[in-house]
Symmetry: C2
Subunit: 227 residues, 2 copies
């Protein structure tokens, strides 16, 4: 039987290596060496390398609040500023790594979506999990945004800006494309807020729309599917 | 001596395979088999697999106008509509592939930026080449956009939206995230145009700013560096 923390060590090591160098470029032997786990124990816990990756993606689902969205939410009560606090955290990630590594989910999305259907589903679940939280903040902004702005669609636009900004920062080795993209996103939010003030008659009620799934409703489904 | 079209066949085959399945996942033997070129001829033309990839990226630089931006520009004289015609072409690419494959440059940016410095430079050159054209269209829009909007920064925001929208479309297997992201980009452009009408006193002159490099100034530099 593997040691009790074998699963945790494998997940932590694999997550770091997949983030640093991608899935295909990461050999099982490197995962074993860096985690201090032997081959028999790995295959006792995970069927193969892809199952280990799915384990990593399920782990990311459960860590979103603690590692990603929670810290941003804790810094401000203003729901729209929470969006930009979160963008600031991703920038700090680029600072700490010298514009490398980027978003672990985004990297896997481009590397594996076409070739690994079960992995794609879990990548999608991670994006949806993130969108649940961010669109929740946009719902919380209530009449500060125009009534006709679908909050989940706007959250997807935020995610697109973020991922595309990170991509360009990594390709250029510079923060400029990221900063410029986030600056335009902020300007768009300001213009939407001005629009909401100009047309208060059609203000949206500050309630969540039925299309917004909560993380608790989403996460177990994805876990069941993925692991 | 390799046959005269060996180089072209290698570049076309490698470009297709790298786009379909990524750089690391593509074996040299597959490139040889699909191109009908033998190993000796490959290494006569390209030093190694990475040199072949650099050749592909230099080829993309020279093909931007013919394959990517030219067709969009030919469909409308309106410089701002050219931006959205180009977005429509990328959507058509997603339609033809069933939301797979995505942007060949974006894929390579996330896969190789950290580990292959010379490749990263050529990926960056491809993004800059694209930004030259799109920011040129935004400059051509003159006073229709507010004077304080830097046209190259706005072009980077367009590229971020595009790449992030493609990423989410591939992860979800659906056009929705792409369409929603582009719809918000269009709304932002509309709001910027309304703003420009409201504050005509600070209209920008319809001239190109010195920071915008032309494709002709950029492409030879990148070619020299990469090949």
């Amino acid at each position: 039987m593997p040691a009790p923390d074998t699963r945790h060590r494998l997940l932590a090591t694999a997550a770091r290596l997949f983030h640093e160098q991608g899935y295909e470029a990461t050999g099982v032997s490197t995962i074993l060496r860096e985690s201090g786990v032997n081959s028999g124990s790995l295959y006792h816990v995970f069927e193969n390398k892809e199952a280990l990756l799915r384990g990593v993606l399920v782990h990311y689902l459960s860590e979103l609040d603690a590692q990603v969205t929670g810290p941003a939410a804790a810094r401000t009560e203003d729901p729209l500023e929470r969006v930009f606090a979160l963008m600031g955290d991703y920038r700090q990630g680029l600072e700490l790594t010298g514009c490398t590594m980027g978003c672990p989910i985004g990297n896997l999305a481009l590397e594996l979506s076409d070739s690994h259907p079960q992995v794609r589903e879990l990548i999608h679940a991670n994006f949806e999990n993130w969108l649940d939280v961010v669109s929740g903040w946009l719902v919380d902004a209530g009449p500060r945004l125009p009534a006709d702005v679908d909050r989940r669609g706007l959250a997807r636009f935020v995610l697109a800006t973020l991922e595309g900004g990170i991509m360009q920062a990594r390709a250029s080795g510079s923060f400029t494309p990221f900063d410029e993209s986030i600056a335009h996103l902020r300007r768009y939010f300001e213009l939407l807020q001005e629009l909401a003030v100009q047309t208060p008659a059609v203000r949206t009620p500050a309630v969540r729309t039925p299309t917004v799934r909560t993380p608790t409703a989403r996460t177990p489904t994805a876990r069941t599917r993925g692991n």
